[in-house]
Symmetry: C2
Subunit: 437 residues, 2 copies
């Protein structure tokens, strides 16, 4: 076997054998196959794709390149959720303790944000003291005790994916369903959950704009998960507008936690509540803790309203040494002062936006990364108040921008104002959950 034959085979549109995929990935990870040959192979995959068996094989080889957590000793069924990323997506921060309160164990390995989307790990770093790095043993111990834990993916998780992703990023091979699938699944599988729920986002704020492409990705993700013996579920959700009202790190964490606080659900943005509850219910159902979706959802609602999730949240954050000031609305997290506002230019209905621009507006203020090593301003952010379909009067506040530097706040506000589309006629609200798979 040699790598050139493997490149040629994929170039001609052949399917690769498991051994060929392992040869290429293991050789590359070991430094025996040079980057230029892997780059050529990745581009051939971009053009000719991979079938479900190849994709599962690739995910498996990348998984096997690193550590796999042994979740067998955990005291409850394990489940996890993955989101393909969007603007204002703070679901994991609510979902993990909700699922824990429903009787699941949630061992969540999370990543940093890049481009226009925020990373769960970055949001958690806004909590004073919160430790995002620890040994696998301590991580599993916290999951066992608190029901959930969220930490950064350590270097020993799917190192092959890390190396291949870096190469994809600079060779134009990021936007490729089988490569995306294998990358997501190799990391998700490593944490050992038996049930994996995917929040597959489409729309202007998502990486995938197109529902058909999202369906293709969903099928691939499910096929890989099932071939590794996991229970899979996919919800397709809308990312044509921000999820919830808060965008930014500290203020997204605050919005998430406030929603779980006793009585918080009623004040929380309805889209955030609904999507979180449905994704958590899919985990409960997938893990076999409820016989069907409605019963699962009732369990989630009970965990939310009965205070179980709030208790689980405190137990989890404390276990990771995070300090929350429960007497304060902002939980003691540092946020930037109000520095600019966006208002409606005339009476009318909010008809839409390029949601990605809201992510870039945050990045403009230092709240996003262009490169992995960029430092982040966790305190800046914005509240985006209306939803598409809402009627506003001229001068009504659309967004409040929080930032330490007023010129940057103004620039962000202009970017937000520029992307909004207004209509003089009534506009329908956007459906939140588009399909289930």
């Amino acid at each position: 076997m040699n790598i050139l034959q493997i490149i040629e085979a994929k170039k001609r549109g052949e399917t690769l054998a498991d051994e060929q995929i392992a040869f290429a990935v293991d050789g590359f990870t070991a430094g025996e196959i040079p980057e230029y040959q892997m780059a050529a192979l990745l581009m051939a995959v971009w053009f000719n794709g991979m079938d479900p068996r190849e994709t599962a094989s690739l995910a498996g080889v990348m998984l096997a390149s690193g550590a796999e957590l042994d979740t067998a000793s955990l005291p409850a069924p394990t489940a996890d959720k993955h989101s393909t990323g969007g603007v204002g997506d703070k679901v994991s921060l609510l979902l993990a303790p909700l699922a824990a309160a429903c009787g699941l164990c949630v061992p969540m390995l999370s990543g940093r944000g890049l481009g226009h989307t925020g990373g769960t790990l970055d949001k958690l770093q806004a909590i004073p003291g919160y430790r995002i790095h620890m040994e696998n043993e301590e991580f599993l111990d916290i999951v066992g005790r608190a029901g959930c834990a969220i930490v950064g993916q350590s270097a020993d998780i799917a190192p092959a994916d890390g190396r291949i992703y870096s190469l994809r990023d600079v060779t134009g091979t990021v936007d490729c369903v089988p490569l995306i699938t294998a990358s997501i699944m190799s990391k998700k599988l490593a944490a050992g959950p038996r049930t994996i729920v995917i929040d597959l986002k489409t729309g202007s704020g998502a990486f995938m704009q197109d529902l058909n492409q999202a369906r293709e990705l969903a099928r691939a993700l499910v096929a890989v998960g099932e071939s590794h013996g996991r229970h899979m579920a996919v919800l397709f959700s809308d990312m044509g507008q921000p999820l919830g009202r808060a965008i930014g790190h500290a203020n997204e964490t605050i919005e998430a936690f406030a929603a779980l606080r006793p009585g918080g659900r009623e004040q929380a943005p309805p889209d955030l509540v609904e999507l979180t509850a449905e994704l958590t219910a899919a985990m409960v159902l997938g893990a076999g803790l409820a016989p069907e979706q409605q019963a699962a959802r009732a369990q989630v609602d009970e965990a939310w309203d009965g205070g179980g999730a709030w208790t689980a949240l405190q137990r989890w954050v404390a276990a990771q040494d995070g300090r929350l000031d429960l007497d304060r609305d902002d939980f003691g997290l540092a946020t930037a002062p109000l520095a600019a506002e966006v208002t409606a230019p005339a009476d009318g209905w909010l008809a839409g936006m390029d949601c990605r621009q809201l992510g870039y507006a945050l990045a403009d203020m230092g709240g996003g990364r262009k490169q992995v090593e960029d430092p982040l301003d966790l305190a800046c952010g914005m509240e985006f108040l209306p939803a598409v379909g809402d009627k506003l009067a001229k001068g009504d506040v659309v967004a409040r921008v929080h930032c330490d530097r007023s010129d940057e706040a103004e620039a962000a506000a202009r970017r937000v104002a520029d992307t909004l589309v207004w209509s003089g006629q009534e506009v329908s609200a956007r459906p939140l959950i588009l399909e289930r798979f």
Copy 2:
């Protein structure tokens, strides 16, 4: 401009601007663009191709990466020939002095053999004393005095092509018409000939098996040459059987030179005579030394039969310090003894062969390279006597294998015997020149 945008553009099937092509090639040659990004771009080109303007632009950028010979001071019109390579192709060794005798100047830069095909440069190295490396000034001086010279391509000719070819070789991007075209033309243009004739070979002994693909390559070669102001002509010739009878370095040189010796043409293999004369006539015609093909061919025949080519040959080889013993049939070149024979297994017609296997049989004996740095046995070789369509009786000699090592000779003979296809019914001869373009 950045390389990732260029990769993405070609990936999406866009045509690249001249500036983008220059940015990529110059950046790569300068070491500023890493191999993995060039590999991704080359694979995207493999899938999405390049149009004639892009291909001409690529050839031009690779040409401009190195030296261009100034042939303006030469005393006669310049012309050159390029063959896409085959088994037993010693045409350049006859064609250069023939063209010189017709009044052309032939500045020929030649390469080494790789795989199943021999290189003109290697064949010339079988001549004692023949110098294949010299400064460009001396090279042009010999062309001016002798009418032709054949030397190795120096490192300052199209260095970008050298670097890109090395990368193509290990990334599965060799078999790509625009890349082949730009590679051929960047080197051919560098030697400065105003007329370029292409011998485009198809069939089992050629790199291209398919006439349609060859036509595509021909169109691309002509477009690039014409866009650089050169007169172009293409002959499509058959490589389904060896050209001439000799295969191997010393014995191909001997066969070529013997054909030019007074009275040699009648004993020479008719296919070698015909293809050489037609290619040379195309050079004469292209350079404007004859009004039409038949008159050009008459000039070539006169140069051959009148001894002009034989004189030109001696002048050329002597100018490059080659020593030919004109009293000997082998010109004093070292050849290996007869070591094995292949005979016809039964009465019948020779119906065909995988001609590439004859090249590999030579390589088995040390007369071919697997890698560029492999040393060559220039003395081994074979005579392959019949042509497809010839009737042989059982036991008639098909091939004589010459080698210092009898076991290797036997292996080569077996490989030759195994690839021959025999028929009990009459078989047509293969046409030699298939098309002109």
